[in-house]
């Protein structure tokens, strides 16, 4: 697995254990060691403390405390229904669409409370973009319109800027060469893998700081998956990426850190290599070795 060959920072063993229940005092749950000798300490993007979420009476997340590093890829794994998608959607307040959602706890992005009543959800989502499991280019728009839609509908009219963004975004999502000659065809005319990369281009065209990927490859074939994974490696230079995946090889390949969720609880969170090679929680070990879930 390529992730293991990568020089991933290994946090000091004493700090590599992270268990959310019972909740430890804030700040002590997650290791944040210097990334590599000689580098500055990792910057924290999301700082989440004892975050719980209910759908009406059903509690989907139980006091999750986690620090997600800036400009790294953090993978969220766990069996279906463990709350990983819910957690991801909480990071840009997407779950507010569902009726009867209630939250407690603290969720901060670079120190700012995302759930402060003063902050509108649209402002949060401009900084925290999202790509979904099922590719969903807007059906009434061309490829170019799809990419630029977020900018245009947020009131940007500068033609030069829009043209530049269009090319940059499509280049970053590794789609430019395939679509540059038919930018004005419908977005839905592309293949499944291209559509998903179009959705990534659309998400990065508005220049968010964080990109949330909700099982972005589960509907793609292995070749398209490889392209998207390559893209994730490229994007992490500029973006904080949080990816939910069912595919553990994928988590191992693309992520720097991995969080294992089970039954709405964060069971373990550590460097990806630690999670896969030397997990400290028996449930994590059982899951990553394929014995349950």
């Amino acid at each position: 697995m390529s992730a293991m060959a990568d020089p991933i920072s290994v946090p000091p063993p004493a700090a590599s254990v992270s268990v959310s229940m019972p909740p430890a005092p804030a700040g002590a749950t997650t290791p944040f060691a210097p990334a590599q000798p000689g580098q500055v300490a990792e910057e924290v993007a999301f700082d989440i403390n004892r975050f719980s979420l209910w759908y009406s009476a059903h509690q989907a997340l139980h006091e999750v405390s986690i620090k997600i590093p800036s400009r790294k890829v953090t993978a969220i794994i766990g069996p279906s229904g463990c709350g990983k998608s819910t957690f991801l959607r909480a990071l840009n307040r997407m779950h507010e669409l569902s009726p009867g959602v209630r939250i407690t706890g603290d969720l901060r992005l670079y120190g700012e409370d995302l759930y402060s009543p003063a902050i509108d959800a649209t402002l949060v989502r401009r900084r925290v973009g999202m790509v979904f499991q099922k590719s969903n280019p807007f059906p009434t728009m061309t490829i170019a319109e799809n990419v630029l839609c977020g900018l245009r509908l947020n009131g940007i009219k500068d033609k030069q800027l829009l043209r530049d963004r269009l090319e940059q975004s499509l280049r970053m999502s590794a789609l430019w060469d395939e679509v540059k000659d038919h930018l004005y065809r419908p977005g839905t005319s592309l293949s499944g893998g291209q559509q998903q990369r179009l959705c990534i281009a659309r998400a990065i065209a508005v220049r968010p700081e964080v990109l949330l990927l909700d099982e972005p490859c589960s509907a793609l074939d292995p070749i398209a998956t490889a392209k998207v994974e390559e893209l994730i490696h490229e994007l992490k230079k500029d973006y904080t990426i949080v990816i939910v995946t069912h595919n553990m090889q994928q988590a191992a390949r693309v992520s720097d850190r991995t969080a294992f969720f089970y039954m709405g609880k964060l069971i373990e969170y550590a460097a990806t290599r630690t999670i896969f090679m030397n997990p400290s929680n028996p449930q994590t070990e059982a899951y990553v070795s394929g014995r349950f879930g």
């Binding site: 649209t122 949060v124 989502r125 969903n136």
Partner: protein
């Protein structure tokens, strides 16, 4: 090889008891169902046959260009009624389309479950209100206070009838737009009203237009709501605050008259009305042919 080798039974030998009876029943039911579907289509052909047989002879250029004339005079037409019907439909659309579409958007995108339950219930009750009742209500609201029958009152009556129809189809079409598009747009930080107008409504546009045309076709033939609102008029309407002619009203007036030539004109008017509704329906077919998400 000789005959002593046991051979497999043929299909008929292996058939269970009562097989022939079962086949007979199956065929009988098939014939019955075919007969029912023919019975459904027969009235349509009867209507078309009588309209063409009785009315086609009275349709000529004058019919579309001239005002009605007294019985016995040649060259009378229904030009005013044809134009009147179109005017009334346009006014009905002005009332029914905005209210219906906005109501449908509210139901699909904003309303709470409780509110939606009551709004849908109200719309369904409205749909069931007999059209003559609409006419009476509008008579009280728009005819009595202004002391005159008017095109406005007729358009309002037809428009009010359109609202529940347009509202429910708009809602259904919007709900067919996959949630994924709304989520993708929200994730771009686009304000909700822009998402609804520019992405969701546009995606459902064909379905919404289809619903509007169906509602127009439905009210185009209504006579009862016009009886005490638009009233009818034998001349050109020059002021929408005065009575206006409409095809269904003209057909009604001519059909109950004692004159043969007026009867023929009534048939011709019915044929033209049916033709107009048919054209609307053809548009509906053309638009909805390649609709997405269905």
């Amino acid at each position: 090889m000789n005959a002593s080798v046991p051979s497999a039974p043929t299909f008929l030998q292996a058939a269970p008891r009562g097989h022939a009876w079962r086949k007979f029943k199956s065929r009988a039911m098939g014939v019955l169902m075919l007969g029912s579907s023919i019975a459904v289509m027969t009235p349509l052909f009867l209507v078309l046959y009588f309209l063409v047989h009785e009315g086609a002879s009275a349709i000529d250029w004058n019919f579309f260009t001239h005002l009605p004339k007294p019985s016995g005079e040649l060259g009378g037409g229904m030009a005013n009624a044809i134009v009147g019907s179109i005017v009334l439909l346009a006014m009905a659309a002005c009332v029914g389309v905005p209210l219906g579409v906005l109501g449908g958007i509210y139901l699909a995108e904003y309303g709470s479950q409780r509110a939606n339950y009551w709004i849908r219930y109200a719309a369904d009750v409205l749909n069931g209100i007999p059209s003559i009742v609409w006419g009476m209500v509008v008579y009280l609201l728009l005819v009595v206070p202004f002391k005159t029958f008017s095109a406005y009152a007729g358009g309002a009556a037809l428009g009010l009838m359109m609202i529940p129809l347009v509202m429910r189809t708009t809602e259904e079409m919007l709900l067919l737009v996959p949630q994924g598009y709304r989520e993708a747009a929200l994730a771009l930080g686009i304000p909700r009203w822009k998402i609804i107008t520019i992405i969701v409504v546009r995606a459902a546009m064909k379905g919404i237009i289809t619903g509007i045309l169906v509602a127009l076709a439905r009210v185009a033939g209504e006579t009862a709501p016009l009886l005490f609102t638009a009233l009818g008029n034998n001349f050109w309407n020059r002021n929408l605050a005065e009575p206006i002619a409409a095809l269904p009203l003209q057909i009604f007036a001519y059909a109950i008259s004692p004159y043969d030539d007026w009867h023929r004109q009534a048939w011709a008017g019915a044929l033209v009305l049916l033709g107009m509704i048919l054209i609307l329906n053809i548009f509906v077919r053309l638009i909805s042919r390649d609709r997405k998400f269905t």
